[in-house]
Each structure stands twice: as C-alpha cells, then as structure tokens.
C-alpha cells in the first residue's frame, strides 16, 4: 500500500499541478514540491522503520501486488529492499531539490513543466520499485516521454537535437531489452510451464546457454546506454548540457542510476553465470569510462558539458564496483551512486544558477566570481571538492571502496582506475579556478545566493558529509533484510579467481 502511494503521489501531484496552472502560474510549483516532499517523507518513514510491513516469509521490506490483466503473467508487483530503498529515498530527495531549483527559472507553461517533472520522478520510482519485468519495462519507457518534453520545451539553444538523441538512444536500447524480457518470459514458460513476468519466479529460470547470453545482451544494451558506459555515452553530454536545470539534475542524479540499478537488480541476478563471464570486458569498460570521462571533462569549456563528462567518469566507478564480484566494491558502488547523485546534482544546480545570472555557460567568460558572490563561490568549491573525491565526503568513500574491492582480484584495473583520482583533481580544480578565481575580465556583478538557493545547497551538503564521515548506516541499510542481494553479491564470488579472467593489464 505504502509503495503504491509512493508511486502514485507524484503522478497525481503532477496532474493537479498541471490543472492548477489555469488558476495561478505559481501554484504548480508548490503542488509539485509538496507532493515530492510527501513522497520523500514516506521513503524516510520506510527507512527509519515506521512503515515496515514485512510479509511472513518475504525477503522484501515492503511489497504490494495487484493483478493487472494484460498478458497472462503480468501483475502490478512492487517491492522494496535495502538497495531500492536507498535509491527511492535519493529519488524523493533529488526530486524536491529539482523542483526547488526550477522555482524562478521556469516562467512559461509552468503547469506542463511540473507535470513532466513529477512524472519523470514517478517513472524513476517505478523502475526502482517494480518486481515485475513488464511493469519495469513500462516504467523504463514511461520516464522517457516527460524527460523528452523537459529537454525539448525548456532546454537551451540546441535542445531539439539533444532531446531526440537522448530519446532515440534510450528507446532503441530499451526495445532490445523488451525483446530479451519477452524471450526470458517464454524461456521460463517453456521450461516450467508457468508463464510469468514475476521477478522472483524468473530468478530461477533454467535455460540453455547460448540463448541466455543473447538475452543478457538485450538487458546490457539498455543498462549500459543508460549508465552510460563508454561507447554508448554520446547522448549524455548533449542531453545534460541542453536540459533545463531540473532536467540535468534528474538526468544525472536519477536516470543514470536506473541503469546501474538495472544491472544489479536484473542483469546480474537473472543471469549470474553469464554476467560473471562478461565481467572482464565490462570492468574494462568501467575503467575506460573513468579515465575517458575525466580526460574529456578536463578539456571542456561549457560548464554543464564539463559536469556531464564527470558523470561518465563517476559512473565508470559504479560499473567497476558492480562487476568486481566483491562485497566491498558493491557497497562502494552503492555509496558512489548516492553521492554522485548528490554532488553532480548540486553542481548542475550551481551551473543553472550561474547561467541564470551570467547568461553563459562558457568557462572562458567566467572568472573572479568569488569576491562578487562569496556564497556562490563557497558552494561551488564545496561540491567541486566533493566531486574530486576529497576525504570526508561521500564520493571519496565510494570510489575508495570500489578501488579497494577491485584490487583484491584485479590489481591492474584498480591501479588504472585510481588514476581517475588524479584526473578528477585536475578537472575539478580547473573548473573552480576558472569560475571563482582569476581576473573578473567581463566585470560581472551578480547577486549572491538567495535564501532559497542557500537552503538547497545546505540541504545537499548535509547528506554528502554524512556519507563521507559515517557511511556505515547506509551500508547497513543496503545489506539489512536483504537476502536477494546477499545472494547476488556473494554468488559470483567463488567463480572469480583472478586467473580465470583477463587481468587488468590490458588497459
């Protein structure tokens, strides 16, 4: 019940926000903020244990199921365990931040904007909550449409191309996943006689080897594009750069996480043996992403594009951690997902604030902003440091744990990935130096952060520091009452002696 509420509050909030635009242009933002805040409070309630409804023998913290007659075997099955709970909390939180950040940025068609915003959030929540593969695919596709409108209608100068590129990449890869899901449905049905899309039933599907590998490829296509892993990343810099602030925040903070979540929830547990076999190439892709993203970030002039490339770099660590087959690396990847969502989200909000003030995103034209707007400079400094992995903040813990976990089995890959720390220092410091210091050549005189903007920044700093100083509660939350995850993270482990896999020397 509570899960259905979490899913449908943003849907309804969006519709109400859309309709109230006719009453007042300012009402929609309040309604969407309130609905997202209620959503976040509900997830917090789940987190703190007030709203648990543990089933008699269910591994899930909470679940809900209802028939949704469509094909034989489709049901409206939602469930939450430690991993998804962490991610839906992040979704609720970043949703509020995104709504608050667009407060004054969006002045046209506000109702439709907040409808798209809340519906994107609802789609992301649906992805994190579904335990039925068809429902999962439905949510996966569902979040594309409002996101497309966010970019297409309120984006920057080259928005149409960016929106289409984003849509086509994700849609094409999603359709491959659909074919795989249906293939799995039939494989399971033919083997057992039970035709179902239910996640828990499909976990134990006996299938012949060559078919499974093809099915896994379909899933990987969707998740690696969304993550994004390096050869499939080209939609990301365009989409992130052209989207409005809220769109960039949701894209970087949440949509990328759906790719990682898909890997850890579906691709690995559904095909344990095959994904173990694919570990080598995927981890290499992760390392390539870490280095390539950081390298390109260093040479960007467009601030939002720079932040977009840092996302590729950070998500490379997540990919690495998920496939390392070590518990430590997996936990590191989880922390990295949350802290990347927070730090990159905050950086995109800052980029939005700068663009609102300066009407440019070009680093070449910025400079010397610290004396003009010290609070803005301080906030930028904080999140740039978080992004480069300064100890004491979440990103450091995440990346460090991933590298440590990877090192056990693949020292070469770990060494290569740790080069990413050096590169990230370079791009983050270059960015902050270009924005805040140096000579104020253009003579910028801009207002400093307002109270609302300070509030957003402060709210995003708290969890980052919390993760950096005391990550244990989050790790406990991920691990606790989570047998399904325990299976998946420990299962590949015995198959993973360093010598059976290509050593990381390749890099």
């Amino acid at each position: 019940m509570i899960l259905a509420a979490i899913l449908f509050i943003p849907v309804c909030g969006g519709i109400i926000a859309w309709l109230t635009e006719y009453a007042s242009a300012k009402l929609p933002r309040w309604i969407s903020l309130i609905s997202l805040a209620v959503d976040f409070l509900l997830t917090a309630g789940l987190w703190l244990g007030f709203l648990h409804q543990p089933g008699a023998h269910s591994p899930w913290l909470a679940s809900a199921s209802a028939p949704w007659v469509l094909l034989p075997g489709v049901s409206f099955h939602l469930g939450v365990d430690g991993t998804s709970l962490v991610l839906i909390s992040l979704t609720g939180f970043l949703g509020c931040m995104a709504a608050a950040a667009s407060w004054n940025e969006i002045t046209e068609r506000t109702g439709f904007f907040y409808l798209c915003l809340t519906w994107t959030i609802a789609g992301v929540l649906g992805v994190f909550l579904s335990l039925d593969l068809f429902l999962f695919y439905f949510a996966w596709e569902f979040m594309l449409v409002p996101m497309y409108f966010l970019i297409n209608c309120w984006g920057h100068e080259d928005r149409f191309r960016a929106a289409v590129k984003f849509f086509l990449f994700t849609q094409l890869s999603g359709l491959f996943m659909l074919a795989s899901i249906i293939g799995l449905y039939f494989a399971h049905g033919r083997a057992t006689g039970v035709y179902t899309f239910d996640y828990e039933a499909l976990l134990h599907t006996p299938i012949a080897a060559p078919v499974t590998f093809l099915l896994l490829l379909g899933f990987l296509a969707a998740f690696l594009v969304k993550l994004p892993a390096v050869p499939f990343h080209t939609w990301l810099p365009d989409a992130h750069t052209q989207a409005p602030t809220a769109g960039s925040v949701i894209l970087a903070g949440l949509l990328l996480k759906t790719g990682a979540y898909g890997l850890l929830r579906f691709a690995i547990p559904l095909f344990p043996a095959e994904s173990t076999a694919a570990t080598g190439p995927l981890m290499v892709l992760g390392v390539v992403g870490v280095l390539y993203g950081a390298l390109l970030a260093f040479s960007q002039d467009d601030l939002k594009r720079l932040i977009a490339y840092t996302s590729i770099s950070h998500m490379g660590f997540v990919l690495l951690g998920l496939f390392a087959g070590s518990r430590l690396a997996f936990q590191g990847a989880m922390i990295q997902m949350v802290s990347h969502g927070l730090s990159t989200g905050a950086l995109f909000i800052l980029a939005g604030l700068l663009q609102e003030r300066l009407r440019t995103r070009s680093l070449r034209r910025m400079g010397g902003l610290w004396p003009v707007a010290p609070r803005l400079g301080g906030a930028s400094m904080f999140f740039a440091l978080a992004s480069l992995g300064l100890p004491g903040m979440g990103n450091f813990v995440g990346e460090f744990m991933v590298v440590l976990g990877v090192y056990q089995a693949h020292p070469g890959l770990a060494v290569a990935a740790s080069l990413g720390f050096v590169f990230s220092t370079a791009y983050a410091l270059r960015m902050i130096q270009r924005i805040c210091f140096g000579e104020n050549r253009e003579g910028w005189k801009v207002p400093d952060l307002s109270l609302r903007e300070m509030g957003i920044m402060a709210l995003m700093m708290v969890p980052l520091l919390w993760l950096g100083l005391s990550p244990q509660p989050l790790i406990d939350r991920v691990e606790k009452g989570n047998p399904s995850m325990a299976d998946t993270t420990s299962a590949p482990k015995p198959h993973l002696p360093g010598k059976t896999l290509p050593p990381g020397r390749r890099k």
Binding site: V69, L71, F142, V145, Y148, A163, L175, Y185, F186
Partner: protein, 475 residues
C-alpha cells in the same frame, strides 16, 4: 434458423439506409437530415450485430459466415465509420460542393467492408472488395474543385483496378487447381499444393499481390502517399483504417487454416514483405514534410508490424493482430481527426509548418495530436505501447527473431519523425502561421472520446484483451 438471411441483418440495414438516404436526397436536399439518417443507420447496424450475438457462429448461404471474429471486426468498422461520418460533417460544411452524396458513398464503402469481413468464399470476397473500392474512388475525388483530389482519385482507380485483376487471376488459378472457392475447403488443399506445384504458388502470390496493393505494403505501396495526400482528410482516415482493416480481417480469415510455419516458402514471402514494409515505411517517412504523406509512410510501417503478428503462431496470432488493429484504428482516426479539425476551408492542413507552435494556439488539440503520435510511436500510457508489446510477444513467442529485430530497429528510427512533428507542435513561434477554424462540439467530442479510449487501453487493457481473446477463440 427461421430466416436464412437473418445473419445479413447489419448489411441489409446499411444497404437500406443507403437507399433511404438516396430517396430522401431526391425529395429534399438537407445536409443535416442525411447526416442524421446515416448515423442512425450505422447505429441500427451496430444494434443488429448485438442481435446476432446469441446466434454465432452462423452461416448465411455459401457466401457469408458470421462468427465472433466477424462480429467484432464489423463492430470495429461500423464504429470507425460512425466517427468518420461525424468528422466529415463539419469538414464538408461550407466547402462549395453538395455534401449529401458523400454519405451515400460512405455507406456504400461500409457495406463493402462489412461484406469483406463476413466473406468465406471468393465470390463474396471479390464482391465486397469491389463495392468498397468503387465507393472509394468518388469519395477520394469528392471535392472536385481541387485538382489534387481528382488526381488522387484517378490514381487509386487505376492501381486498385490493376490489383483487382491480379486478385481475380490468382483466384482463377487456385480455383482451377482445387475446384473450390470456399476458404474452409481451400485451406487443407492449398497446404498440399503450395509446396508441390509452381502454378499453385503463382496463384497464391498473385492473390497476395492483390491484397498487398489494398493494404499498401511494400512493394505495392506506391499509391499510398499520393492518395493519402490527395484525398480529403476524413476520407484518408477512412482508407487508412476501415478499408485496410477490413482487407486485413479477410486476409486473416483466409489464412486461418493455413499454418504458415508449415510452408517455408509462404513464410519467406511474408517475411520479405514485412521487413521491406517496416524498413521502407520508416526510412521514407523521415524525408516527409507533409503530415498526410508522413502518416502514409507510417501506416506502411505499421502494416509491416502487423504482418509480424500475422506470421506468428496460433495462440497469439489473432489476438495480437486484432489488438494492434484496434489501437491503430483509434490512433489513426485521432491523427486524421486533428488534421480534419485544423483544415481551413480552401485546403487541408497538411504542411508541417501548419503545426508549428500549435501548442500555444490550441493546447488541447496539440495535446491530443501528441498523444496520437506517441501512440503511433508505441510509447507507454497509450494503446500503441501495449499493441507493440503484443506484436513483440507474438514474434518472439514464434521465434521470428529476424523480423522482431528489424521491428525494434526500424521503430526506433520511426520515433525520429514522430518526435520531429511533436517538436514542431511545441515550438515557440509567436505569429500564428495558419488560421484554423475553431473546433466544433462534434469534433471535440470525437477527439476526447478517442483520447480516453487510447489511454484506457494503454493503462488498463484487460477488458479489451479479454473481449478479443473471448471472441476470437469462441468458434
């Protein structure tokens, strides 16, 4: 069975309405009266279908069979005909031509479509097809003052005549070889013949060619964009939905007893046609700047998807095809409905530039059009999404991997041109480029109805799926 012609009740009602309207027109011309007569005739025919419901499956002589399948498709076609008639009223009003005969032709075309759906014999098949086609020629060229319409009408006349000749020749060969013209008797005989004798395969291919022309699948698609562009918007809606849908229903009926899996040659023919339609339809649509042409190429691609469902194995075939056709009917009627409502008196609103910034001028209409385009693209919350999932399920379930992969890739390509139109709708152009007439109450009602149906079937398709599988499995 007291009265052997009772199963033909819906056809007779439509025919009677046609005659009655003709008489009424000769007594006194009144657009409104003819319109009302037409609508009540269609409603009466729908009621006639309901009356038949307890009797199915019931055969009317040698020629017609009315089972659950036929009743469902008849209802679909009649409902679509009703909506086309409603859309036509405002469209014809004020265009300088006599509007009354339009409805006669519309009823005639509906009569042909109903006959096609009930056909179980080559004779009734050909009869229905010709009644449908002959009514369509003047419908396409109805607004004679516009040369493009006349051109489209003549084009359709020639292509359609040629395809009928192919069809007839194919029928003759098959009859010559098997000695029967009944579908149920043909099925098992064809199975024996196709893989043996070249003549039977030739006959089959000629038949498929003739049907392919009517469906507008590649390589028989050339007429589609020209006729779509040239015909008045409500007539285009009629051709895109009712005419093609009725032919597809017949196609399905004809091949009911022929399992394509046992005939690799036939399967090959259909695979090639399906792949070519999906690829050509979606790729050529990328280059269109005219909405009607774009929708024409989109419909070519959609019939490629339908053929994938058509090739699939038994438990899915009829359900997937029928669901897809229902969704396609609603979506296509909606899309052409928007074109109809936006058309000014002197021409049809078919240039992409007519739609730029529509969201600013007519937010509700633009929203409806967006919904229709998203449904054509197969996005969630719309019936098109469920329909596409059904087709993929049917394809994967029957191991049609190659067509399914082509479907996946081409429909992603197809997304591009739908998004281009959507982006045009939401563009920020200040001056209104085209002055469209305000939507009337009737037009609005049709659009609202179609939007509700589209979302309902996209979110909670259960009842419709249950109905389809109940009806198609009944006999």
């Amino acid at each position: 069975m007291t009265f052997p012609l009772l199963p033909l009740l819906p056809l007779m009602i439509i025919a009677a309405t046609l005659v009655l309207s003709m008489v009424a027109i000769s007594v006194r011309r009144s657009h409104r009266a003819t319109f009302c007569l037409t609508l009540s005739g269609i409603l009466a025919a729908l009621a006639g279908l309901v009356a038949l419901l307890p009797l199915v499956p019931v055969q009317a002589g040698l020629l017609f069979l009315f089972d659950g399948f036929a009743l469902f498709y008849s209802a679909l076609v009649l409902a679509a005909g009703f909506l086309v008639a409603v859309l036509s009223y405002d469209y014809l009003e004020g265009r300088n031509t006599a509007p009354e005969e339009f409805y006669l032709l519309l009823l005639g075309a509906l009569l042909g479509a109903l006959a096609l759906i009930g056909a179980r014999h080559f004779v009734s098949f050909f009869l229905g097809l010709e009644v449908l086609s002959i009514s369509l020629y003047p419908l396409i060229a109805y607004l004679r003052a516009r040369p493009s319409h006349t051109e489209a009408g003549i084009k359709y006349l020639i292509v359609s005549g040629a395809s009928s000749a192919f069809l007839l020749y194919g029928m003759a060969i098959i009859y010559g070889l098997t000695g029967t013209m009944e579908f149920t008797l043909l099925g098992p005989k064809i199975s024996g013949l196709v893989d043996g004798r070249a003549a039977a395969l030739v006959g089959m291919v000629l038949l498929i060619t003739g049907i392919g022309f009517k469906l507008g699948v590649v390589p028989f698609h050339m007429w589609t964009p020209d006729v779509y562009e040239g015909a008045p918007a409500p007539v285009t809606a009629f051709i895109a939905t009712i005419s093609k849908g009725a032919v597809f229903a017949l196609f399905l009926r004809y091949f009911t007893d022929v399992s394509l899996r046992d005939h690799p040659r036939l399967l090959l023919v259909f695979t090639v046609i399906a792949i070519a339609s999906m690829a050509a339809g979606n790729l050529l649509a990328l280059f269109q700047h005219n909405i009607k042409r774009l929708l024409a190429y989109s419909s070519i691609a959609h019939f490629g998807y339908l053929l994938v469902a058509f090739m699939s194995a038994r438990p899915f075939r009829v359900t997937a095809v029928t669901y897809y056709l229902v969704a396609y009917f609603a979506t296509t009627l909606g899309a052409f409905g928007v074109v109809t409502l936006l058309s000014p008196k002197e021409r049809d609103a078919d240039a992409l530039s007519d739609y730029e910034g529509l969201f600013r001028r007519r937010p509700w209409l633009a929203g409806t059009f967006t919904l229709m385009l998203l449904s054509l693209a197969g996005m969630p919350l719309t019936a098109g999404f469920i329909a596409k999932v059904y087709v993929v399920v049917a394809g994967v379930g029957s191991f049609l991997w190659l067509p399914v992969i082509v479907l996946v890739v081409t429909s992603a390509i197809g997304l591009f041109y739908y998004l281009r139109v959507i982006a045009a709708l939401y563009k920020d152009t200040r001056p209104a480029p085209a002055i469209a007439p305000p939507a009337t109450l009737k037009g609005r009602a049709v659009m609202i109805l179609l939007s509700i149906l589209l979302i309902w079937w996209g979110v909670y398709p259960g009842p419709l799926v249950a109905l389809i599988s109940h009806i198609t499995l009944a006999p």
